[in-house]
């Protein structure tokens, strides 16, 4: 009976009866969450993104202990971290490059969702929360980039916040509110620091909702068909083991950059202290915002460019209804699959355009790319869904494992 149980077991049960937090976690990402057994390595990136979020929060907390959010001291305090704080260089390079690797993980996660139709019924709300996470991440990353108060911090902040002046009637008021004055200055830096510290915890909360929404229908899978209970295996130990391996591979790339090319992803100009009187030759955001920056600059009208840039993100909310096909996985959608790869190439091309001066070939390409982006979303997706004849779907995951479809 009871006395056969170890004292630890009894303590655990006593606590669980009062606050069942361990079994809650066990249901979320443990033995009680059944996941399809055929998830491929692209499914690792959700876990990896969560891992990077925690890395960013932890390194960020230690950076904030040594950072000074004042225009006259911010740049110097970052150098203080790099030179005088024990392992400050490591914490800062992990945080700075961690943002890029967080976005790499999230973008692969998103394109995996696009390929395998993870946004379709019954996962629309799960997808919405993901889109909100992406938008909040972008805002957080943008504000974080302002904090070192280098040249690109200042001018990037100026360009992006000035966009809001394009909004009719209330634009100027919104911009003044963002700035905390009539230009990018100390109040801007203060509020960006405050929000940069706040938003990651908002993301963390959204991630909890994201996982909650994931657990209602359960994980999608490479075949995109509903997984029968017999085709599911417990998340732990199967996917925890697989994710541990995936994180290891990802960390090899991440650490290679952190230790051996820590400034490769940054703009050298940001090692020059912000100077409101000297404009850098070209003002470009970090790579993960470049496709959207290209869309912004593709359109000669400021307000329309602003609308297109945000529209490119907001259109993702209605993606589950723009894609009219009932078949989720692109594996069985020969036509959609071609357009998927075109969309990916187009996004990469837009990213390249975003880094160039908006003239000549890059400008032409960014206009074509912007047109294609919206054409893909608004015209191609519904039409392909109506006209395409999908390949026959396997009856179950097991059937496809035993004798592959074709």
């Amino acid at each position: 009976m009871d006395n056969q149980k170890s004292v630890w077991r009894r303590a655990f049960e006593w606590h669980e009866a009062r606050l069942p937090i361990i079994s809650y976690i066990d249901h979320a990402v443990g033995t009680q969450y059944p996941a399809p057994k055929n998830l491929n390595y692209f499914w690792n990136f959700g876990f990896i993104a969560g891992f990077m979020l925690m890395t960013m929060i932890l390194t960020g907390i230690f950076l904030a202990m040594n950072y000074t959010d004042h225009t006259s001291m911010a740049f110097d305090s970052v150098e203080h971290i790099m030179r005088d704080v024990n392992y400050g260089w490591l914490i800062r390079y992990m945080h700075f490059n961690g943002a890029s690797f967080f976005f790499i993980a999230v973008y692969i996660h998103i394109f995996r969702g696009l390929y395998y139709g993870s946004y379709k019924a019954p996962r629309e709300v799960l997808w919405w929360i993901g889109v909100i996470i992406l938008i909040v991440m972008m805002a957080t990353a943008f504000m974080g980039y302002v904090l070192p108060w280098g040249q690109m911090s200042f001018w990037g902040a100026k360009v992006i916040t000035s966009l809001f002046t394009a909004i009719p009637v209330v634009g100027d008021a919104i911009t003044t509110l963002l700035w905390g004055g009539f230009g990018v200055d100390n109040p801007t830096l203060n509020r960006f620091f405050s929000l940069h510290y706040l938003l990651p915890f908002v993301i963390l909360g959204l991630v909890v909702l994201h996982i909650w929404a994931l657990h209602i229908p359960g994980s999608n899978n490479p075949l995109g068909i509903d997984a029968a209970p017999a085709d599911k295996i417990p998340f732990h130990p199967y996917y925890t083991a697989k994710d541990a391996f995936g994180v290891g591979v990802f960390l090899l790339f991440y650490f290679a950059v952190v230790f051996y090319a820590p400034n490769a992803l940054g703009d050298p100009v940001n090692y020059v202290k912000a100077n409101p009187l000297v404009t850098p030759n070209s003002i470009v955001p970090e790579w993960y915002l470049l496709p959207f920056y290209a869309i912004l600059r593709a359109i000669p009208n400021k307000l329309l460019g602003f609308i297109a840039m945000f529209g490119a993100l907001l259109v993702l909310f209605v993606l589950p209804w723009l894609d009219t096909s009932r078949v989720r996985s692109a594996t069985f959608r020969p036509v959609y699959r071609v357009f998927f790869w075109l969309f990916l190439l187009n996004a990469i091309m837009l990213g390249w355009c975003g880094a160039q001066h908006p003239e000549g070939l890059p400008l032409v390409l960014s206009r074509l790319g912007t047109a294609w982006y919206f054409l893909h979303m608004i015209v191609i997706l519904p039409v392909v869904g109506w006209l395409e004849t999908p390949k026959p779907l396997p009856v179950s995951i097991s059937q496809s494992v035993l004798k592959p479809a074709e």
Partner: protein, 255 residues
Amino acid sequence: MRNILLVATAAVALAIPSVINAAEEHEVHLAKQEWSFNGVLGKFDKEQVQRGFQVYKDVCSACHSLQYLAFRNFEDLGYSEEQVKALAGQYEVTDGPNDEGEMFKRKAKASDHLPHPFPNDQAARAANGGALPPDLSLVTKAREGGPDYIYNLLLAYEEPPKGFELLPGLNYNKVFPGNQIAMAKQIQDGLVTYADGAPNDAAHVAKDVTAFLHWVAEPKLDARHSTGLRVLLYTLLFTVLAYLAKRRIWAKIEH
């Protein structure tokens, strides 16, 4: 395994725009140098950096500050505590106010930063024909091309091509963006004589001072490289073990 390759390819593809961005330089060809600090095992050649400091001290420091460098940092170059004290003792810094409310000069201490050559930017401009000599603490990280750019720039002074209109007070430099630089040619053969008898032709002097500047910009580079190697080896070991564990756990699952 095929999936892993696919995932890795996707990761690289997503990073391409940034790599293109990073590789973008203005069209001038920079002669790439073999730096001791390049590569996974790269670290600073302390003697070279010390020679470079001599160049900075004798030449550059007349106009350029190194605001983030403190005398104590020289211990990382192998200076003893006594040597650092002696070095700092050669400089005077302004301190104060004292009990009478006066600012005063005193000998620098190990904890002091190297003093600025000018009391303020306006004085620096006034002494340099309106141009502000930039602080060099981060210069090798703050320019496209890094140390290679600085090295090439120092040696890229030449006569302007025919028809090139040089503004008064500026010098022609084929590496500098726009080709007109306020700084006059400084580096030449025999500019300094090294105590260790190392070659002091223009190319060597430029290389030594650039190595010194890169040490000032990235003083933790040695620690970063050696820590990185250990971290990567550990992560590799972890990843291999995780892979073996994953295979064993998944052995009975048909997938």
